[in-house]
């Protein structure tokens, strides 16, 4: 296959990637969009396999087969709630691939030829170093993120004095070695692998000190890195497709990061380096929770019977409790009695963007019912019963009232403005932000203690019986 035809295939693939991403802008076209992406990838790989330089296709096919099988198995076996981990894992692999490819280039024929030919090619070397650096950070960082989200005991939140300094030194070291790669091409490999090693350590240290709930931000960022790494590799092999696809990913990662940070009202810097300032509100939990009223599933069911509109605000707890199917059943029962059911979805409810949407979609809940925060808040005054299911920070009024609190200024869903609020959680223990929630003690709030799934199921039962 002529080099130009291959490049043409790459162009087609690039277009398909873009069209595919465009498909993701609407739920109806999203599935197709994803398939376009896969198709593009297929075209690209096949075209590459037909490249004249490729010696044995069979070997490659085997390797691809192996990778595919593992990938599919992982993707099919995984629980929907474990999605973040999986993404982190895959992301790490992608970064790792970049490191290896750039390394292979330095070990390869073209490089040695260029080297002996003596013409300077600093641009390629710069790109090589870049893809190694970014790739390595992505690799180790993602794996740590994976471990944390899996809550593997091995990795606790480690942070030691002068950590920032160490990171800084490591970064400087990487930069130095990177420059050496460019300056001393003859020792390029040595410097390259040294740099990659340092970069991996750096990746570990950067991520290990970040709290579990911030992982989504980290993942999004690392995702964007892996994209940039791919772009860099593209510059090494001067390959359009890698550059384009890579920068698409880079862009998407950056945007997601920004969205999450905005929604949490924290700067990216604070997420990455600042540990959260601990709750500024002086009030002790006992004070805050002095007048908490708890209720029973039966009482809730009775309230629901006389309600016109119910708003369900799910949070991380729903994911933990796997309560989405129970929620679906409750919703259907309510709808049967023509009680309008809406869902208030906070942008950072759960542990990754759109986390709740995915879970509820999994439970066959029509996405027309999922209201974004602002819409949910604007309909709040017509809500008779708001059910807060395993959500905490995203409904914590302190964000509005207490400028000292770590979530101060984070936009929340104002369930406290609904007629009655039922909060379903196992205890009074705080959420990710680790601060007390005055909502639980509000006059119009009732606590329903228990595991989310069970509690909802009981409510449904009581509602259907009554």
């Amino acid at each position: 296959m002529s080099a130009d035809l291959i490049d043409l295939c790459y162009l087609v693939a690039a277009v398909l990637f873009m069209v595919g991403l465009k498909g993701l802008t609407r739920p109806r076209t999203a599935v197709r969009g994803n398939l376009f992406g896969a198709l593009a990838m297929l075209i690209a790989v096949v075209a590459t396999l037909l490249h004249q330089d490729i010696l044995s296709v069979t070997g490659l096919l085997i390797a691809i087969a192996v990778g595919s099988i593992v990938g599919v198995v992982l993707a099919v076996k995984i629980e929907m709630t474990a999605m973040p981990q999986l993404v982190a894992l895959f992301n790490g692999l992608g970064g790792g691939a970049s490191v290896l490819v750039a390394g292979a280039y330095l070990a390869g024929r073209e490089f040695s030829e260029r080297l002996s030919s003596g013409v300077c090619f600093a641009d390629v070397l710069t790109a090589t170093a870049a893809s190694g650096l970014i790739g390595a950070v992505t690799l180790s960082g993602s794996l740590i993120a994976f471990a944390k989200l899996q809550e593997l005991k091995a990795v606790r939140d480690i942070s030691f004095p002068g950590q920032k300094l160490v990171n800084l030194l490591l970064a400087a070291g990487c930069a130095g070695l990177g420059t050496l790669v460019v300056m001393q091409p003859e020792h390029a490999e040595l410097w390259y692998w040294g740099m990659s090693l340092l970069a991996m350590v750096l990746g570990i240290l950067l991520v290990i000190s970040i709290g579990g709930a911030d992982m989504p931000v980290v993942i999004a960022l690392l995702n964007s890195y892996s994209g940039l790494a791919a772009s860099a590799t593209g510059f090494v092999l001067n390959n359009n497709l890698l550059i384009i696809a890579g920068s698409l990913v880079g862009a998407s990662g950056l945007i997601l990061t920004r969205i999450m940070c905005d929604a949490m009202n924290r700067s990216l810097w604070a997420v990455l380096f600042g540990t959260m300032q601990s709750g500024g509100s002086s009030a002790s939990d006992d004070e805050v929770y002095a007048h908490v009223k708890s209720t029973s599933a039966e009482d809730v069911a009775m309230m629901l019977e006389v309600a016109q509109r119910v708003l369900i605000v799910p949070g991380y707890g729903m994911a933990v409790a796997q309560a989405q199917h129970a929620v679906r059943d409750l919703t259907n029962s309510l709808l049967k009695h023509d009680i309008d059911v809406q869902f208030g979805i906070h942008p950072v409810a759960g542990r990754m963007p759109g986390h709740m949407n995915v879970l509820l979609a999994e439970a066959d809940i029509d996405y027309e019912r999922l209201q974004e925060m602002d819409d949910a808040n604007s309909m709040m005054d017509q809500v008779d019963v708001a059910i807060v299911l395993g959500a905490n920070d995203v409904v914590n009024p302190l964000a509005r009232t207490d400028p000292g609190s770590p979530i101060a200024g984070m936009p929340i869903i104002d369930v406290d403005k609904a007629r009655t609020v039922v909060v379903v959680k196992r205890s009074l223990s705080p959420g990710f932000a680790g601060i007390a929630n005055p909502l639980f003690a509000a006059d119009n709030a009732l606590m329903l203690f228990g595991d989310g799934k069970q509690a909802i199921a009981e409510i449904t039962k009581a509602f259907n019986d009554g």
Partner: protein, 128 residues
């Protein structure tokens, strides 16, 4: 606009990097292709792609952010192409080994990513 500004600064920095690179490479690459140098073209492609990315991604609704995350993650496995070239060409043993490892990693990333994304999206089909 914050996104745009992001994009722009992103690009800005890129250009900075480019500036020096270019200086160095004016000699060889520039000569090779008569018109605008190869590197600049690649850079242009990069910048444009970043723009396309920002424009499209900013239109994606929150509902689809998780699929977007895993989907774009799958796309980032595009290094697979590079891996194949590295593993397949006659580049000696070391390169081949590294290449093959890269192929396996990247494939997992790509295939797994697309499948899992598809699994998620399949749930978004409209009800009733």
């Amino acid at each position: 606009m914050s996104i745009l500004s992001l994009a722009v600064q992103e690009i800005g920095s890129e250009l900075a990097v480019a500036a020096e690179k270019t200086a160095e490479t004016a000699a060889d690459v520039g000569a090779a292709t008569g018109g605008s140098s190869h590197l600049i073209l690649l850079l242009t492609v990069f910048v444009l792609a970043v723009f396309v990315g920002f424009e499209i991604i900013t239109k994606i609704p929150p509902t689809l952010h998780t699929p977007l995350m895993s989907g774009s993650n799958a796309i980032s496995g595009i290094t697979l192409v590079g891996a194949v070239l590295a593993a397949g060409g006659d580049n000696g043993l070391v390169a081949a080994i590294l290449g093959y490892a890269a192929v396996i990693f990247a494939t997992m990333n790509v295939v797994g990513g697309f499948v899992v994304t598809n699994r998620m999206l399949a749930m978004f089909r409209p009800r009733k």
